[in-house]
């Protein structure tokens, strides 16, 4: 149990070791560990953020899809309506055109009939005059009775 100078020497050695550890051993280890801890924490936070963003964007995508679907069906309905309308319009136009053509044809026919009647009347009056000329022969002077003749022809 002899206490001697070894004690002092050991105490100095101990103190030197503590100072060495304090200056050169502890700080780099602490730095490395704390930096890594921070990096891991940051990475985890970034991962969490990314996941949240993914969730949000997938939700947004679904929403956009829904909107697009609604819009598409709207467009489809509109197009159908438009098609029906076009068909209806075409039908109307065709009908009107047909009516017009029919009317035109009817008018033409009428005209034709009138012309034919006119011709016939002229011919009948000519025939009548010719018949009367034949009956009356000499007695009728074309110039003298022209007034009567024209009246007759008009009446026919």
């Amino acid at each position: 149990m002899d206490i001697n100078f070894t004690l002092v020497a050991q105490a100095i050695a101990f103190f030197v070791l503590i100072v060495f550890t304090m200056k050169f051993v502890w700080p780099p280890l602490l730095n490395a560990i704390e930096t890594r801890q921070k990096e891991i924490a940051d990475g985890l936070a970034a991962g969490e953020k990314g996941r949240a963003e993914l969730e949000q964007s997938s939700k947004r995508a679904t929403e956009a899809l829904d909107v697009a679907k609604v819009k598409a069906s709207e467009i489809l309905a509109l197009a159908e309506k438009r098609a029906t309308q076009i068909v209806e319009d075409a039908k109307g136009t065709a009908k009107a055109e047909g009516d017009r053509i029919i009317t035109g044809a009817k008018a033409e026919i009428e005209q034709e009939i009138n012309r034919a009647k006119e011709g016939l009347r002229q011919q009948v009056s000519t025939l009548a005059i010719a018949g009367a000329e034949k009956i009356l022969r000499k007695e009728i002077d074309a110039k003298a009775h022209a007034e009567i003749l024209t009246a007759i022809a008009k009446e026919l």
Partner: protein, 271 residues
């Protein structure tokens, strides 16, 4: 090892409990235990140097296995200190705790070496036959007292630093019983006992454990000298005691570190 005089049990034990003392002046105080000093300084340089080598190249990225091991030790010490001391531990207390733990552990671990192996193969070729050599520095009371007293001075230093000289003296006289002048002597006596008992219990606990462990190894070695039966029994018991000693070595290093931290932490808190 002592063969010039008859190999008696007491001679064997006495030989192995003698330090390699060198006188450096007049009086019994001015001697140095060369074995204690060389072993402890070498172990300190090896252990702390090894950590330093790893710490120097420490990266914040994926650690190597070596670095991971050092960080394991680091974290273990840091966790203990964190639970006890709530100031900025990184400036002094935690590094000091790491030093104490690693160094004391290494010095204690010298007990695992066969008793004479260092003396026989390293010291005797240099210093001649029958050189005294004890490999376990912590079974030298000088070592444990040196550590405890260093901690003790640090304790007082930190107490004065955090409370001021006046505050510290005030605390010596006014706690734990109160500020009444009548209880000043009682307070002072109490604090005196505390200040004396701290380094004593701190150092003697470690010394006692390591000394007793060494003596038991010596007794088993003594048994081995009695014949074949003794050798076998001594070997088996020696192996058992070594295995149990792993616990003691680690536990005593841990306790020594914890007490160091507790004392230093207490010094900076007011009562």
């Amino acid at each position: 090892m002592a063969t010039e005089h008859a190999l008696t049990p007491s001679g064997y034990i006495e030989h192995h409990l003698s330090f390699n003392s060198q006188s450096i002046g007049n009086g019994s105080f001015w001697t140095i235990h060369v074995d204690t000093l060389v072993m402890s300084v070498a172990l300190g340089i090896i252990a702390i140097g090894l950590i330093w080598l790893v710490a120097r190249g420490a990266t914040a990225g994926v650690p190597t296995k070596r670095q991971a091991f050092m960080e394991l030790v680091f974290d273990f010490v840091d966790d203990q200190v964190k639970n006890i001391y709530h100031g900025n531990r990184h400036t002094f207390i935690a590094p000091a705790a790491l030093t104490v733990f690693v160094w004391v552990f290494m010095m204690n671990a010298m007990d695992f070496l066969p008793i004479d192996i260092v003396a026989k193969y390293i010291v005797e070729p240099i210093g001649g036959e029958h050189t005294f050599w004890r490999s376990v520095p912590t079974s030298d009371i000088n070592t444990t007292f040196a550590l405890a007293l260093t901690v003790w001075f640090l304790m007082i230093f930190f107490a004065i630093k955090s409370k001021g000289l006046g505050g510290w003296i005030h605390e010596l006289f006014c706690s734990p019983f109160g500020t009444n002048p009548l209880v000043w002597p009682a307070n002072f006596l109490f604090n005196l006992i505390e200040y004396v008992s701290k380094p004593l219990s701190h150092s003697l606990r470690l010394f006692g454990n390591m000394y007793a462990g060494e003596v038991i190894f010596l007794l088993l070695g003594l048994w081995a000298a009695t014949g074949v039966t003794g050798t076998i029994a001594g070997a088996i018991l020696g192996a058992g005691w070594s295995i149990f000693h792993i616990l003691i070595v680690a536990l005593q290093a841990f306790i020594f570190m914890m007490l160091t931290v507790v004392y230093l932490a207490m010094a900076q808190e007011s009562h």
